[in-house]
């Protein structure tokens, strides 16, 4: 039970400080889940994003469910997911009920504009950190550049990026193995 409440609190905190979509919460997930509690390694966290991208449901919830399940089974999955949605339930309900006019308040808008810049800075930092650990071989660079091109030129959806890069990874690793033989 203590462990379940802990999961709920961790994800409540993450939900409370996630501004934007699933990617905006990556810096927080890394701090809380990888560095502080050691539930996952950095590599596993990235794998979760790939999985969350191709499975039904919004990515933030998929990731919370996955981590909760890994820690404490089905109950863990439920508690982590509840933690993730509770801040939204409280805050959005409050806004919809009484605070709707304050959201257009000048200072609120300034604060959120500032937060968005902070999110960009945090994402820039995490890309730098993850790059050093996960882009080591030529094959990794090929996949990264290929994904960037597909995103920039063809505007492909994330699910296609994951599927195509999985195929590319399979082919490249088989080629590497054949060379070694």
């Amino acid at each position: 039970m203590v462990q379940l409440i802990k999961l709920l609190i961790i994800f409540f905190k993450i939900g409370l400080f996630t501004f934007g979509g699933g990617y905006a919460m990556l810096p927080l997930l890394k701090t809380e889940i990888v560095n502080k509690h050691g539930f996952l390694t950095e590599e596993e966290l990235l794998d979760l994003y790939a999985i969350g991208q191709c499975t039904p449901g919004i990515i933030a919830i998929n990731i919370a469910t996955f981590i909760g399940y890994k820690q404490k089974g089905i109950k863990g999955a439920i508690f982590a997911t509840l933690g993730m949605i509770l801040p939204s339930l409280f805050i959005i309900t409050l806004i919809a009920m009484v605070l709707r006019q304050y959201i257009h308040n000048r200072y609120m808008i300034y604060a959120f504009d500032g937060i968005r810049i902070g999110v960009v800075a945090l994402i820039a930092n995490i890309i730098y950190e993850l790059w050093q650990k996960n882009v080591k071989f030529v094959s990794d660079k090929i996949i990264f550049i290929g994904a960037v091109l597909l995103l920039a030129v063809f505007n492909l959806g994330a699910i296609w990026i994951v599927i195509i890069s999985a195929l590319a990874a399979l082919v490249l690793s088989e080629l590497k193995r054949m060379k070694q033989k």
Partner: protein, 172 residues
């Protein structure tokens, strides 16, 4: 009855909206057409609020839309409907992963996808940068924050609070 319908409709969105961020939005526009629960204009308002408040956008949208249809319980039921498919599908996948993650081929594929996920993160960052870096001042603040984060390791929450304060003080 309205609760059941809400749960069912948002369960469907949870099942078919794949990915992150604003993927739920087209489904919500469909709902607006089908049931006239809220107008397209109200929905636009909801998106703006959901984007700038804490919590994943998809969950915020579900809570908001559910609330506007049937009050507090509507918000709760719609959100539960949205997350239920994730719970079911992810638990199944997590079980399968336990079985196959030791497989060398699966291992290679996962390692190979990671650089592509980095590209996805990069583009998500660029999207946010496009709307938030609008002038020299915001660019300067970004540069300072990046350097601070790099060399002065504080938690992301600390930096989010700092950037909110900077936003107010500098009127970004």
């Amino acid at each position: 009855m309205i609760y059941f319908l809400l749960f069912y409709e948002f369960f469907k969105i949870g099942l078919f909206a794949i990915g992150g961020g604003l993927v739920t939005v087209p489904f919500l526009f469909d709902l607006a057409d089908e049931y006239s629960w809220y107008s397209a204009k109200e929905l636009t308002d909801m998106i703006a609020i959901s984007e700038s408040t804490p919590g994943p956008i998809g969950v915020n949208m579900a809570t908001f839309a559910g609330f506007s249809v049937a009050g507090v319980w509507g918000g709760i039921i719609a959100t539960l409907g949205l997350v239920t498919p994730s719970l079911i599908v992810i638990i199944i996948i997590a079980r399968l992963m336990d079985k196959y993650s030791c497989n060398m081929r699966v291992h290679n594929i996962l390692a190979g996808i990671r650089p592509a996920v980095l590209a996805l993160i990069l583009f998500a960052g660029i999207e946010i940068a496009k709307i938030s870096i609008t002038n020299l001042l915001s660019g300067l603040v970004l540069a300072i924050l990046v350097v601070l984060i790099r060399f002065w390791k504080k938690s992301p929450i600390f930096y989010l609070c700092v950037s909110a304060i900077l936003g107010i003080v500098l009127k970004l």
